[in-house]
Amino acid sequence: MRKKQSESLPTLSRAPTGIDGLDEITGGGLPAGRPTLVCGSAGCGKTMLAMEFLVRGATRYGEPGVFMMFEENAAELTANVRSLGFDLDTLAGENQIVLDYVHIDRSEIEETGDYDLEGLFIRLGHAVDAIGAKRVVLDSVEALFAGIQNHAVLRAELRRLFRWLKARGLTAIITGEKGEGAAITRYGLEEYVADCVIILDQRIRDQICTRRLRVLKYRGTAHGMNEYPFLIGAHGFSVLPITSLQLDHEVSSQRVATGIPRLDTMLGGQGVFRGSSVLVSGSAGTGKSSIAAKMVETACRRGERALYFAYEESTAQIVRNMRSVDIDLDPWVKKGLLQIHSSRPTLQGLEQHLVVMHDLVRAFRPAVVAVDPISNLTMAQDDAQVKPTLMRLIDFLKKEQITAVFTSLTEGGDATTTPEESQVGVSSLMDTWLLLRNVEFTGERNRTIYVLKSRGMAHSNQVREFVLSDKGIDLVDVYLGGDRVLTGSARVSQEMQELATATLRGQDHDRKLRHLASRRRAIEAQIAALQAEVEAETEEVHFVIAQETLQVNTTHQNTDAMAQKRGGAVRPPGGSKAKR
C-alpha cells in the first residue's frame, strides 16, 4: 500500500520507516533519497529511531543499510538494540546491514596543515557499495566536531557529505544533539539538512518521564504538525498518532456474559458485546474491582484467556481478596488462562504503560482485558493527554476484538461533582458504563449499581442493590416504596415489616375462617337438633293417631262381637261409622 503511494507520487517518494505511527504522521515515511535530521537531547531515543529505520528497511522493505556510528562501538550498539528484538549480528551476517564504528580520539591526532574528510567518504562509500545499501544512518556526526579542530573544514565537508548522500540517492538519517535555547542542534546541522527535521523530546512532569516526537519540517509535503508521544518498547519505537486513527474496526454482535446473571439481565439480558469497552466507575469501596475480577473469572470459565492489569494491588493480594467474594482466580492463573500484571502507576508514564499493555496483549492474545483502575494511570497526567492515549488503547483493544473492562475511581462524589461529570474525560470512549454508588441511610452504607449507558442494547433503567458476600456477587431489587429507595438493612427491615403485616393479616383471615366454620358447625348442630325435634314430634303424632285408631277399631270389634253374641246381623264394615 505504501509502495503504491510512492509510485503515484514520484516527486515525493517516501522511504517507509516501518515505525508504528511515524509513517502515518509523515504520510508514508521519510523523504526517499534525502537526508533527514533527527535531533533531541541525550537519551531521548535518536539512535533507537535511526536503528529501527535501518532494521525495518533491511527486513521489511528490502533496503539494506549502513549504520555509521561515532559514539558507541558496534558491539555496544548491538547489545543495546537487542532489547528491541533487533539481531544485528544476523543481519550483518546476511549482508543486510553494515555497522561501522568511526572512532576519533583527539589526543591521538595532530593536525599539520591542509586536509579533507575523504577518508570518511571512502569508508561510507565502501560500506554502501559492499551491500548495495539504500539507507544510511550517521549517529551522530556531531561527534566529529569534538574530534576535529578545524571546524571550517568540517562544515565544508559535511555540506559535501550531504550532497554526496543525495547524489547517491541514499535515504539517510543524521542524528544531532539538541542545541542550547532555540537552536535545533548544537552545531547547526539543520543548515545542511533541509529536507526533513524530526525533533525528539523527553520531558519530566510530576517525576514521570514522557517522550514526544515532532516533525518540525518536511519539505514539500503535508505532515502532522503536532507533538506525538512515543514509546520505546520491546518491539521497538512506537509513535501514537491519535489524529490519524481511523474508526473502522470490525464489530461483533456476539454477547459476552459478565458472570453476574442479574447484571446480564440488566444489559439487555445477554451481557455486553464482545470487543466492547466497559467502564465501571464509583467511589472507593463500591465493588469495582470485584466486577472486573468477576468478568475476568467468567472469561476463564468459558475457556478464554484474560489479562488483568492491576495498578493498586499486588497479584497475591488480588487473588486473596477476591476469594472473599467467592471469586477464585488462582486456578486460572495456574492453568495459564489468566495473567495478572501488577505494577505501580507511577513506575512510568502513561504512554510507557500503554506500550507494556500493547506488548502483553499482543503476546498473550486475551479475550478479556481488565484495567484496574484507569484512574490511577491517569493520576499524574494532564487530562488533555490522557484521553488520546486511552483512546489509542481502547481502539487497539477493539481492533483485536478484546472485551475491555476499565474501573475508575470517582473522585469525591460530593455535591459539587456528580459521578457522571467526573468521568467525562473517558466515558465517551466507553460502550457500556456501570455506575456504582454508595447509599448511606440509617447508619449504614450500601452499594447500588445501575447501567448509565450501554450502546446498542435495551438496558435496564433500574437501580439495583449490589451485594458482595462470601457467596459472591449478587444484585438485589431495591425496595421502592413511597418516595424512597431502601437498601441493605433498611430494605431488609422494611421487607420484614411487610412480611409481618402480611402474616398478621393472613392469621386474621384464618381466624375468621375458623370462626365461620365453627359457626357453621354450631348452626348445623342446631339444625340437626331441630330436625330431631321435628322427627320426634312427628313420631309422637303418628303414635297418638295410631293409638286412637286402634282404640276405635277395638271399640267396633267389641260392638260387633256384642252384636253377634246378641244375634244381630253383622254390620258391613264401615256401617258402624255411618251408624255413629
Binding site: E110, G113, D114, Y115, I122, R123, H126, L144
Partner: protein, 108 residues
C-alpha cells in the same frame, strides 16, 4: 611519484626500523603528493635509516580505512614506536609533524 603508485613499502634500512609509518591518501591528488614529499623530507632529515613508510591509497583499498580509523586524508599513522599517533593533513607544518611523531628537532 612512483612510490605513490602502489602501497609498496619504502624501506630505508635492512634492520627493523624504529619508526613504522603509514601514510593514507585518497588518490594522487596534489595534497597527497605534497604530504608524501613533506613526509619523505622530514624522515630523511630526522630519521635517516630508522624508518619505513607504507603508502595506502584508499581509493584503491577502501577496506583499509576502517582499520586505522581514517577519516581525514592525508593521515600519517605512526604505528611504531607505540603508542599509535595520527597526524592529519599534508604535513606542511614541519614543527607540528615533529610534535606528532614525538621527535624533537634538537635530536636530528
Amino acid at each position: 611519484m612512483n612510490a605513490l603508485a602502489s602501497p609498496t613499502p619504502l624501506r630505508q634500512a635492512d634492520a627493523t626500523p624504529a619508526f613504522e609509518l603509514r601514510l593514507y591518501v585518497a588518490g594522487q591528488t596534489a595534497r597527497s603528493l605534497a604530504a608524501f614529499a613533506n613526509l619523505h623530507r622530514i624522515c630523511e632529515t630526522y630519521l635517516a635509516g630508522q624508518y619505513s613508510i607504507e603508502v595506502i591509497d584508499l581509493t584503491k583499498t577502501p577496506q583499509l580505512a576502517a582499520g586505522d580509523q581514517i577519516l581525514a586524508v592525508p593521515t600519517l599513522v605512526r604505528r611504531l614506536p607505540e603508542p599509535i599517533r595520527k597526524i592529519i593533513a599534508d604535513l606542511s607544518n614541519e614543527a607540528r609533524v615533529l610534535v606528532g611523531l614525538d621527535l624533537q628537532p634538537a635530536r636530528g
